[in-house]
């Protein structure tokens, strides 16, 4: 069956999104008074400094454990902890600091942003712009540069994402290409011309550090430098994928209501520390000015207007699995989440996507 969707950012999907008014559209927001929103938006260095100190201590401690126990089975738990901190929790730090909401002090956001970008093998300039686009045009085909699972879903690719192999294979060559001064047409579509040279310089810095790491590994005749820098992107990325895939997978595309295309999932406290509360993802997309530490409060305030959250990651994956299977055959099919009676209804046109034929099969 021919694919209906063109996810290129400079293709037919882009043209359609612009023509139909889906690009840079007005989005639905739950009513929150200015006074309350101002309180929720307030920045503070305290929570992020506390969490970052814990993060650094855990990273350094687990790295020390890896070095100390290298060559024995005792290294495994340290690899597990270090890998997730390096390869997964860096994603939420990157994300929150890209918004500039983690810390009140700007340079603190920038320092953590650049460190986390490096850990993720992400060009900090490119990804700042791609994420801005993701917020402007969330899951709008042809516009959003960060659609993790496209339709029809490639389930093998989604499964392999947990190993980090595909992302590694994409991210490293991308940085190498950018370091040689080449940006793709998609990248040029969302990075302003005046910023493009910064993306090249950032990629070169990343390459310098990776080259130094490889040189150190060769000089020491040891895998340890690579296990600590670079390879965690493979063995520690699974938690980022586990939590991140749930943000939008299986939900509607080409709509302008985050309640339809974004998912909030209740999670355990460890995952929430790793993920910095991004499990409250509808709330984050609706109000990206609210810092991660205020998202639970925002959730309590507006949950009457949102679909009921999935009570666990397991529940969310069980719910979405049949939807993904159906999308293999009917890519227009999606999971429409029910609103509580207290919520304002979805706008009529969002109901009218043709999923009835697929549902009837």
């Amino acid at each position: 069956m021919a694919k209906k969707r063109d996810y290129s950012l400079v293709g037919e999907g882009t043209r359609r999104a612009i023509e139909t008014g889906l690009a840079s559209a007005e989005w639905y927001h739950t009513d929150v008074s200015r006074k309350t929103m101002k309180e929720l938006m307030q920045r503070s260095d305290g929570p992020a400094i506390r969490d970052t100190l814990i993060w650094i201590v855990l990273i350094l401690g687990s790295a020390a454990g890896i070095i100390w126990f290298w060559g024995t089975w005792w290294v495994v738990p340290f690899l597990l902890v270090y890998g997730v901190l390096y390869g997964s929790s860096s994603d939420s730090r990157w994300h929150e600091c890209s918004h500039g909401t983690a810390f009140r002090t700007r340079w603190m956001n920038d320092v953590v942003y650049h460190i986390a970008s490096f850990m993720l093998m992400r060009n900090p300039v490119q990804w700042r712009w791609s994420h801005a686009r993701h917020h402007t045009d969330t899951i709008i085909v042809g516009r959003d540069a960060e659609i993790a699972v496209m339709r029809p879903p490639d389930l093998l690719k989604a499964a392999l994402a947990f190993t980090g192999i595909l992302d590694f294979r994409y991210s490293l060559p991308t940085l190498v290409r950018q370091a040689f001064g080449k940006l793709s047409e998609d990248e040029k579509s969302y990075i302003p011309e005046m910023e493009q040279h910064k993306a090249v310089i950032a990629a070169r810095w990343h390459m310098v550090v990776y080259s130094a790491t490889i040189a150190l590994a060769i000089a020491l005749k040891s895998w340890i430098p690579l296990v600590l820098i670079g390879l965690p992107r493979l063995y520690g990325t699974w938690h980022m994928v586990l939590t991140g895939l749930l943000q939008h997978i299986g939900l509607a595309d080409n709509v302008t209501d985050h309640r339809l295309n974004t998912r909030t999932v209740y999670m355990n406290s460890i995952s929430r520390f790793i993920y910095w509360n991004m499990n409250y993802h509808v709330e984050h997309h609706m109000f990206p000015m609210v810092p991660y530490h205020a998202l639970p409060k925002l959730h309590e305030l507006i949950k009457h207007d949102l679909p009921v959250p999935n009570p666990s990651m397991w529940h969310a994956y069980r719910e979405v699995w049949p939807v993904l299977l159906r999308q293999l055959k009917y890519e227009d099919y999606y999971l429409k989440r029910e609103l509580p009676p207290t919520a304002k209804p979805y706008r009529g046109e969002f109901h009218d996507l043709d999923i009835t034929a697929a549902a009837a099969e």
Binding site: S24, R34, M37, K38, M41, Q42, R43, H99, G100, T101, R104, R106, V125, R128, W129, A132, H135, T136, P192, M194, E195, F287, P288, M289
Partner: protein, 104 residues
């Protein structure tokens, strides 16, 4: 030709906050700084069409509610990605408890 127009009453704007002001088909943002001075800029972010009046004022910074782009609302200076184009500012004066802005 430039003209002074009444934007709002002084008390309409909280300290370290911003409100929206529409006039002649245009939208402006009126700020009250923490040291009780008033400023005015264009009402929309220069990055994408978002109302700055829904953003957050911190000291002399206005942060856009959509992508967290930051401007110095006193000078209009864009403070870095994702905003690259400065914000237009307008002269402000206070007369009889009213905030007046000069619109060109």
């Amino acid at each position: 030709m430039a003209e002074w127009v009444e934007a709002c009453a002084v008390d309409d704007v909280d300290e370290e906050d911003v409100i929206r002001f529409d006039h002649g088909g245009r939208t402006f943002a009126i700020y009250r700084s923490p040291d009780d001075e008033f400023f005015a800029t264009d009402g929309f972010c220069t990055h994408e069409k978002a109302h700055l009046a829904e953003g957050l004022v911190m000291d002399d910074i206005i942060e856009c509610p959509k992508h967290n782009g930051r401007f110095n609302y006193k000078t209009g200076q864009a403070k870095g990605a994702p905003v690259c184009v400065n914000l237009k500012t307008y002269p402000v004066k206070i007369e009889a408890g009213k905030v007046m802005i000069e619109i060109g």
